[in-house]
Amino acid sequence: MEGVLDFFMANRGMIYMVILSVFLGIEVISHVPAILHTPLMSGANAIHGVVIIGAIIVMGHAETTGAMILGFLAVILGTLNVVGGFVVTDRMLEMFKKKK
């Protein structure tokens, strides 16, 4: 229990950010028209690819071979998420733009 409180005190700033981000996320999305649901889902999908930063950090400080292999894999998967996500979203949106 003490640990959890410790964590709370040490990370107050981050917890504030979490709460504010939750409301921000809701606010930003709530007026989206149905036609953009698919591209929006795909775009959001690309943004959570930010997990790649964690993968880079782990890989950057990996010392054992096992950690290296897992880290390498994590970076590949994270990159897939980021690149695939943004490219596919762009492809979808490109089609909306084609107007005469």
């Binding site: 640990g3 959890v4 410790d6 964590f7 709370f8 990370n11 981050m14 950010m17 409301f23 996320g25 809701i26 930003v28 999305i29 709530s30 007026h31 989206v32 149905a34 036609i35 953009l36 649901h37 698919t38 591209p39 889902m41 795909s42 775009g43 959001a44 999908n45 943004i47 959570h48 690819g49 930010v50 997990v51 930063i53 964690g54 880079i56 950090i57 782990v58 950057g60 400080h61 990996a62 950690a67 880290g71 994590a74 970076v75 590949i76 994270g78 990159t79 998420n81 690149v83 695939g84 943004f86 490219v87 762009d90 492809r91 949106l93 490109e94 089609m95 909306f96 084609k98 107007k99």
Partner: protein, 478 residues
């Protein structure tokens, strides 16, 4: 707490980059929710991502040590970029939902891997002070569980949408799932109350937790099918967001935190909006067993009346107002281009043609819009189902192409039907109804559709693309 820390110039640049990246993510999402700015929004978010990644590689430090293994990191990124780029560029537009699910799974897996690797490295000082029950361990365990569930679930969703995996509809499964979920929570508590000294030996417990989470992810998605699939993908999407945010806690990394939480909350709202479009509660989607026929619909079937292509062409050409209801069948047959050709031809003959877009037509909300946009159908011709419904009694012909559940009157008439309450396109109110279908198979939700037996309905069996082609040449000949 010592608030005075010693920053190197690099760290400051990194932190500023993270702030910029967070702002770009928010702006990007905001712009993504408006049709005119959507594409720029996506690019802004991508720039934010590049900034965050570059800053991490260049300036991140852990206990004074910079990022090592740079060759390996860049190598992995090149491999990921090539694979991701090629898949994203080559996939057919109809396969879009699976693809989003696949990329989402990759993110979830990355989050789970990070947690697994970080578990043995929780700071000893923290462990000594507060035992296993500390925030870092909690963030790691949650990141692992949520990431694994998201990965496994996304892969199953991918397989299902791709037609490789069928639904598993067993009622008992929901109790199994609840038991596993309770087990996972119990297991987290168990790990966190263990003795610190044993932490090294806890690694195998982490692996068990991973396996159980994967099992849960699989079983969680297995029974869900039909129209609920997009909801699940959206939900898993927000799961991965939360898993990424756990990494943010772990590394005290603001870019991961804001990016992850933003997607987590926006994804949850999007999920709820989708549920609302189908008039189902989220809980129902998660634990409910969807599908199966509405009892009243069985046996109530009348006779099916067919129409020839030639007659259909005449009927359409001499109408004033035609409404097309496209569904997934149209997409599968790749018939969106030929469909647009037909509508252009009819418009030349003075027929007013509109498309009725149901929010969940296709396999994902907005999926139809993407497909029709691909075929250059002007934006103004696409009308949402709520807006077009009052107009339908004045519509001469409604053409249902490869759609089924979104025009099923059972949603309004039959309280025992699984889709009861879902808003539909009220096709039966039009003066004439033409239904193009491959055969008499049931829709994705496996429910009987009484619209097909309606007196005003004429069936046009066959592959959507070749039928439409035949229609085009008939209309041309008139």
């Amino acid at each position: 707490m010592n608030d005075v820390m010693h920053f190197s110039a690099g760290i400051s640049v990194m932190e500023i980059s993270y702030i910029l990246a967070s702002v770009l993510f928010i702006l990007g999402l905001k712009m993504l929710s408006h049709p005119l700015t959507a594409r720029r929004g996506n690019i802004l978010a991508a720039i934010g991502m590049i900034l965050a990644i570059a800053a991490t590689i260049l300036f991140h430090e852990k206990e004074g040590k910079p990022i090592g293994n740079i060759g390996w990191i860049l190598g992995a990124m090149v491999i990921g970029t090539i694979i991701g780029w090629v898949i994203a560029k080559r996939v057919r537009m109809t396969a879009m939902p699976q693809l989003v699910s696949f990329f989402n799974g990759m993110g979830g897996a990355a989050a789970a891997l990070i947690s697994m690797m970080e578990f043995p490295h929780v700071s000893q000082e923290l462990m000594m002070r507060s035992g296993m029950a500390n925030g870092h361990v909690l963030a790691i365990l949650l990141g692992l569980v949520i990431g694994s569930v998201s990965w496994a679930g996304s892969m199953i969703a991918f397989g299902k949408l791709d037609g490789k995996i069928g639904d598993l509809r067993i009622k008992a499964l929901r109790y199994v799932n609840m038991t596993i979920l309770a087990g996972i929570i119990g297991f987290i508590v168990y790990i966190m109350t263990r003795d610190v000294a044993a932490s090294a030996e806890l690694t195998h417990l982490i692996i068990i937790l991973f396996v159980v989470s994967v099992l849960y992810g699989v079983l969680f998605v297995m029974p869900i099918g039909g129209a609920d699939m997009p909801v699940v993908i959206s939900l898993l999407n927000s799961f991965t967001g939360v898993a990424a945010a756990m990494g943010g806690f772990l590394y005290n990394n603001q870019a991961m935190l804001t990016g992850g939480i933003l997607v987590g909350s926006a994804g949850t709202i999007l999920t709820i909006l989708m549920c609302r479009a189908m008039n189902r509660s989220l809980l129902n989607v998660i634990i409910g067993v969807f599908g199966g026929g509405g009892s009243a619909a069985e046996g109530a079937a009348g006779t099916i009346k067919e129409i020839t292509v030639a007659d259909a062409a005449v009927l359409l050409s001499y109408s004033k107002k035609v409404v097309v209801v496209p569904g997934y069948g149209l997409a599968v047959a790749q018939a969106q281009h030929i469909c647009h050709e037909l509508d252009k031809m009819l418009e030349e003959k003075g027929v007013e043609v509109k498309y009725a877009i149901h929010p969940v037509a296709g396999r994902m909300p907005g999926h139809m819009n993407v497909l029709l946009a691909e075929a250059d159908v002007p934006y103004e011709q696409l009308v949402e189902s709520d807006e077009i419904n009052p107009d339908l009694p004045n519509t001469d012909v409604i053409v249902v192409i490869g759609a089924n559940d979104v025009v099923n009157p059972a949603a309004e008439d039959d309280p025992s039907s699984p889709i009861y309450g879902m808003p539909i396109v009220r096709a039966r109110e039009a003066k004439n109804i033409i239904v193009m279908k491959r055969g008499m198979g049931k829709g994705y939700a496996a429910i009987e559709n009484l619209l097909f037996y309606n007196d005003k309905t004429r069936m046009l069996f066959g592959d959507a693309k070749s039928t439409l082609q035949a229609l085009v040449s008939e209309v041309k000949a008139l």
